[in-house]
Symmetry: C2
Subunit: 153 residues, 2 copies
């Protein structure tokens, strides 16, 4: 038997923010803002982070949590519609093992004075190293960090 | 209303080939073989095709069907397990419009003297330019072309 296995799954997160689409979109397109809510965080050690926000551009992060194993995040932007939609494909490794490959669509829909963000991840979770429940929980934490970012002056 | 829309869908194709996994895998990893079944075909005009088959490597095709609109295919390899699994993320445009972004997993499972290929596409079909039924039909045609490739001496 192969020790390799692939589990495909999709999840969607919808969340409302009290900021217009242009402001929420900018938290994804502006490198300093994106780094604050997407990469930084208590306990996370960041070795490197780069983002080239354009179709075909890469976003790469090298990090670990405390004394945990080294992790990598590598994304490529596949579609960008300003203030409306971002699609990237990303994969992650932990301790040198690839744990997932995903297609992530973020849609920004105006809702009154705010924005409904709709995030859809279509993922392949690999070799038992990760699963969709963990990924959804981690993603919800990121969108909580985004809420804090949007409250900055 | 935005003229942008995103439809997420997943399809799976299973197909048996009378060739062992290493031979079927090679039709994906060998640039000349991949070009024959994946790119060439009656009526298709190929302007350029490049493949860099390694994790992080790109595959790019510029083509059209007859006098039809110019099309592009851009993939990045996200995971490769020799003779077992290939994951890439790809996007396509037609006439300058982005029509889709997809995560494509190809698994090669030994089955007697042959291989069961399991292809899973998790796709975002964009702005009404494409849909999952068309994509699945086009992919089935590609796997028919792969069957012919595997019959070459």
């Amino acid at each position: 038997m192969s020790k390799h296995s692939t589990t495909h799954a999709t999840f969607t997160i919808e969340r409302r923010y009290d900021a217009p689409p242009a402001r929420v979109f900018k938290a994804f397109s502006d490198p300093a803002a994106k780094r604050r809510w997407f990469v930084e965080g208590e306990g996370w050690v960041i070795e490197s982070y780069d983002i080239d926000f354009r179709v075909g551009g890469l976003e790469r992060s090298r990090f670990r949590f405390g004394d945990g194993p080294p992790m990598t995040f590598d994304a490529i932007y596949q579609d960008i519609v300003t203030n409306e939609r971002i699609i990237n494909a990303y994969s992650m490794t932990m301790g040198g093992n690839r744990i997932s490959a995903s297609l992530a669509t973020t849609e920004f829909r105006p809702a009154g004075n705010g924005t409904i963000l709709v995030f859809t991840e279509q993922g392949a979770y690999l070799d038992g190293h990760d699963n969709v429940a963990q990924r959804e929980e981690g993603t919800r934490q990121l969108f909580e960090a985004l809420a804090k970012e949007l409250k900055r002056n």
